[in-house]
């Protein structure tokens, strides 16, 4: 990364915090997902997705379901949306969502012993937690980002001049910027480029474990992080990437140049502010990049868009099989509690995934 001090100080502070986050929460989640994969078995996970009727569009279905029940998710209304403390609750919720998804996977696998009410309740409360920190929540990720936009605007408007260009474009730059390797699209780009070099093979349920061993875990890393264990999706992306390996190099160079340009611009703007305002600006920019990372990396790999999201959706779908899908969440839950029986298997604590 071609940034020289002291010109790029706002982004340097941001990069330090991003590194901590990548080493911290991102690593915890990756460790948890590796543990779950080892416990469930790579082939079993691939076959689960292969059999899933929702494998092509579970993200869209999940989003539709969230919106349909948007007023119903059990939540704390009208709490305070501030950055302080957000990362602790985001971490706790993201880890809980993943662990619940892993438990649901094993519970759903119980067949006739599966307890529809407990599965549904666990999925609803898990999504309620994720929803609370997420895009549509009054105290969630998007709301905090919007607040930061306002804070940064208020710092910059008094000093803004025509020669600084568009303020909106500058804000877009701050709220898009992540160094190469910290965004999901750059990581998927790098991973597939590396896979194309190591192996030219498409994946199937029959060969996935062997190819994963040959590629030293690269195949499963992509399946786990970016394909919800779908070989179809993996193979489709592989074909596209095979034909664009040269472009990957160009895209990386362009993105790095773009990031450096924004970093330099932000540093120049900081130099126009009074010291205490420059300090607030640097802090706000660092917070913006951390939230970008949550939005564009952690959410992509570990939220409802991931394999555990697919599993959560299966849990919601199970409820619909036993109740009227037109009902509210509360009505479905009440019906399941009253008309289905408790299963002994659902109290098996060994099914809670803990590394």
């Amino acid at each position: 990364m071609n940034i020289t001090a002291p010109v790029a100080i706002p982004f340097q502070r941001a990069i330090e915090r991003l590194s901590q986050l990548k080493l911290g929460l991102a690593t915890k989640l990756e460790t948890l997902s590796l543990y779950f994969q080892a416990k469930a078995g790579l082939r079993s996970l691939v076959e689960f997705t292969q059999r899933s009727p929702f494998r092509h569009n579970h993200v869209f279905l999940y989003q539709t379901m969230i919106r349909r029940h948007v007023a119903e998710w059990p939540c704390t209304d009208n709490w305070i949306a501030v950055y302080r403390g957000f990362m602790e609750r985001y971490e706790r919720t993201t880890l809980d969502y993943f662990k619940t998804g892993a438990k649901l996977y094993f519970d759903l696998g119980n067949g006739e012993d599966a307890d529809p009410f407990l599965i549904f309740q666990n999925a609803v409360l898990s999504e309620a937690g994720r929803f609370r920190e997420g895009k549509r929540s009054q105290i969630g990720l998007d709301q905090l980002q919007e607040s930061l936009v306002t804070q940064i605007e208020q710092l910059l408007i008094p000093i803004w001049r025509k020669d600084l260009g568009s303020l909106d474009e500058t804000l877009n730059g701050i709220f898009q910027s992540l160094p190469w390797g910290y965004s999901s699209s750059s990581e998927i780009d790098d991973l597939f480029a590396a896979y194309v070099e190591k192996s030219d093979q498409v994946l199937t349920a029959d060969n996935v474990e062997a190819i994963d061993a040959e590629t030293e875990g690269l195949a499963s890393r992509i399946l786990r992080g970016y394909s919800a264990y779908s070989c179809e999706r993996f193979n489709t992306n592989l074909v596209r990437c095979r034909n664009s390996v040269q472009s990957h190099v160009q895209r990386r160079a362009r993105a790095r140049a773009n990031f450096d340009r924004i970093a330099a611009r932000v540093a120049h703007i900081a130099s126009l502010l009074k010291p205490e305002e420059a300090e607030m600006f640097s802090d706000s920019v660092a917070q913006a990049l951390v939230l970008n990372f949550c939005n564009d990396y952690l959410d992509v790999k570990f939220s409802f868009k991931s394999f555990v999201g697919l599993v959560h959706y299966h849990a919601f779908d199970l409820a619909r099989a036993h109740a009227d899908p037109a009902w509210s969440l509360r009505e479905m839950g009440t019906h399941l509690a009253q008309h289905t029986t408790r299963s002994a298997a659902s109290t098996d604590l060994s099914r809670i995934v803990q590394p």
């Binding site: 092509h56 869209f60 730059g173 898009q176 699209s185 992509v300």
Partner: protein
Amino acid sequence: MLSTSLSGRIASIGGGAVTGFARIVNSEADLGRIQPGDIMVAPATDISFATTMVLCAGFVTETGGRFAHAAIFAREHGLPCITDVADARKLIPDGAQITLDPELNLISPA
């Protein structure tokens, strides 16, 4: 042919206005229809679209704002994007040649 001009929220200026063939993408299953230089028209995008999105000249989505996946992707890759264009998939015919001008916030017939 697109019969009227549309607008939404400017999510990314990219390199400015682009002209290309509109490609309606309802789900991941439609991604195989995208050709280099097409303008993707979708309800929204997500990471599963990423390896195809790099082929596109720009994006129009029906939902989302500054922090939507399409907006972030477009800015990262220097491509134009307009989000929150209601009924884009109904109003923009598949295969129509269109101009996406993010500086004017306009999607118009080419």
